[in-house]
Amino acid sequence: MYGKGLRALSLATTVVLTAAFALVFFYAPNDADQGFVQKIFYIHVPMAIVALCGFIAGGVMAIAHLRTRAQKWDMRSYVAIHLSLILGVGVLLTGAIWAKASWGHWWVWNEPTLVSFLIIFLLYACYQPLRFSIEDPERQARYASVFAVVAGAFVPLNFLAVRLAQAYTHPRVLGTTGGNLPGDMRFTFLVALAGMVLLFVTLWKYEMASKHATMQLRALRRKLAGEEEPVRATGRTAAPAATLHARPDTH
C-alpha cells in the first residue's frame, strides 16, 4: 500500500535535491555580509519549515487516530513525528554551524527561530520515552496521540511567545528569510524547500512501507507455524505496532 509510487517519488526527490545542490553552489550569489557560509541557510530553513510542518501533521494525524481509533493513523503520526525530530536535530546542528561561522559562537539566544526550535525539540524528545514507558499498546497509542495533539497546539504558540520576547531587543541576526529575498536567492530557496518536502514525504512513505511489510511477514510466519494469531503484535519498543486485523467498529 505504501510502496506504490515509492520509486517515482525517490527519483523525483533525488532530482530535485541534486538540482537544489547545484543551484546553491553555482547559481545563488554569495551574500554580501556573510559570504559563502550564508548558504547553509538553504538547508537550515527548509529543514526547519518541513520539520515544523511534520510536527503539526503528526498532531493532525493523531487527531484522526483519536477519532477513528484506526491503528494506521497512530503509525503515520509516529513516523511523521519521529522523522521531524531527526530533522530537528539537523536544524539545531546547521543553526549552530551558521552561528559559529557568522558570530563565532556555537549558540546564540537572539535568533528566535533557533531558540523556538530548541524548546520544541526538548518537548518532542519526550515522545518516544513516553511511548516506551506505557506497556499496554492500545493505551500507548492513545496517550501518544494526546501528546502529539497538545504538542502540535504548542508549536505555533511557542513561536509567537519566543519571537515576541526577542522583538525589541535584537535585530534578526540570521536574517534573509522571509519576503525580501532577491530573485535568484528566492528561486534557489524554493527549490531547496521543494527538495526537503519531497525528501520528508519519501522517507515517510519508505518507513511506513517498511513497517507494514515487517508486520505482514510476521503474520505470515505465524500462520506457517500454525500458531494462533495474536490479536495485536507488541514488543518493547517505542514504535507502534499496527495490526492486520481490522478492528470491528465497536461504536
Partner: protein
C-alpha cells in the same frame, strides 16, 4: 458537570488538608530554592529582570512537585475506577484537578511571595501587588491546565515522576517568558513601572488555547 467537579475538588482539598503532603512541600521547596539562589548568584538582593527570573523559575519548579502528586491517590487507591464508574462527565475530572492545582499554587504563592520579599527582593513588592496578583492568577491557570495534562499523561507510565516534569517544563516555557517579562517592570529597584499589555495578553491566549485543547483530549486519557 459542575456538581461533579465541585465534589472532586472538595475531596482533593479535604485529602490535602488531612495529609498535608503537597502544599507544605512545595512551599518549603520554594523557600529553600530562594536560599540556594542567594548562594548561587552570590547576591544579597535582586531587582528588576533578575528578580522576576528568580521568582518565576522557583515557582515553576515548585509547581513540578505539585504536578507529580496530582493523580497519585487516584492511581494507587482506585480513584480512577471510582470516578469512571460514576454517571458523570469525564471532563469534570480535568476541571476539578486543574482547580485543585490552582488552589495549591495560590497557597504556595501566599507563602512564596512574602518569603521572596524577605529573603531576596530589593524593592518592596507591596505597591506592585495588584499587578502581581493578576499575573499570578493568569500564570496559575496555564500551569494548572498544563500540569493536569502532563500529570495525567505521566501517571500511567512506569517512570511517572520523571516524565511529568519533562513534559510540563517545555510546555510551560511560554508562561515563564510572558510572566517574567511582565513582572520585570513591577520589581524595578526604583519603584514599579507599567506592565506591557502584550504579556498578560499572551498569558491569556496561552490559557485559552490549552484549556480548549485539554478539554478536547482529556477524555481519551481516561477511557480504556
Amino acid at each position: 458537570m459542575r456538581r461533579t467537579a465541585a465534589a472532586v475538588v472538595r475531596k482533593d482539598l479535604l485529602l490535602e488538608l488531612r495529609t498535608k503532603e503537597t502544599v507544605p512541600a512545595m512551599a518549603l521547596f520554594a523557600v529553600t530554592t530562594f536560599v540556594v539562589f542567594h548562594f548561587g548568584l552570590n547576591r544579597g538582593s535582586v531587582a528588576g529582570d533578575l528578580a522576576a527570573g528568580v521568582f518565576w523559575v522557583t515557582l515553576l519548579f515548585a509547581a513540578m512537585l505539585g504536578i507529580n502528586r496530582l493523580f497519585v491517590a487516584e492511581r494507587e487507591q482506585g480513584g480512577f475506577d471510582a470516578f469512571l464508574l460514576a454517571p458523570t462527565d469525564r471532563t469534570a475530572l480535568l476541571a476539578a484537578k486543574a482547580a485543585a492545582l490552582f488552589v495549591f499554587l495560590s497557597v504556595l504563592e501566599l507563602i512564596a511571595v512574602p518569603a521572596f520579599a524577605l529573603l531576596l527582593l530589593d524593592p518592596s513588592p507591596w505597591p506592585a501587588l495588584p499587578g502581581l496578583i493578576g499575573l499570578l492568577a493568569l500564570a496559575n491557570v496555564g500551569i494548572a491546565v498544563i500540569g493536569t495534562l502532563a500529570s495525567a499523561l505521566a501517571i500511567q507510565t512506569r517512570a511517572r515522576d520523571l516524565i511529568a516534569p519533562l513534559l510540563a517544563l517545555p510546555l510551560l516555557i511560554p508562561v515563564v517568558i510572558a510572566a517574567a517579562k511582565a513582572t520585570t517592570p513591577l520589581l524595578l529597584a526604583g519603584g514599579p513601572g507599567d506592565v506591557a499589555a502584550r504579556w498578560p495578553l499572551i498569558l491569556g491566549l496561552y490559557d485559552v488555547v490549552f484549556a480548549l485543547t485539554a478539554y478536547a483530549v482529556f477524555d481519551f486519557l481516561l477511557e480504556d
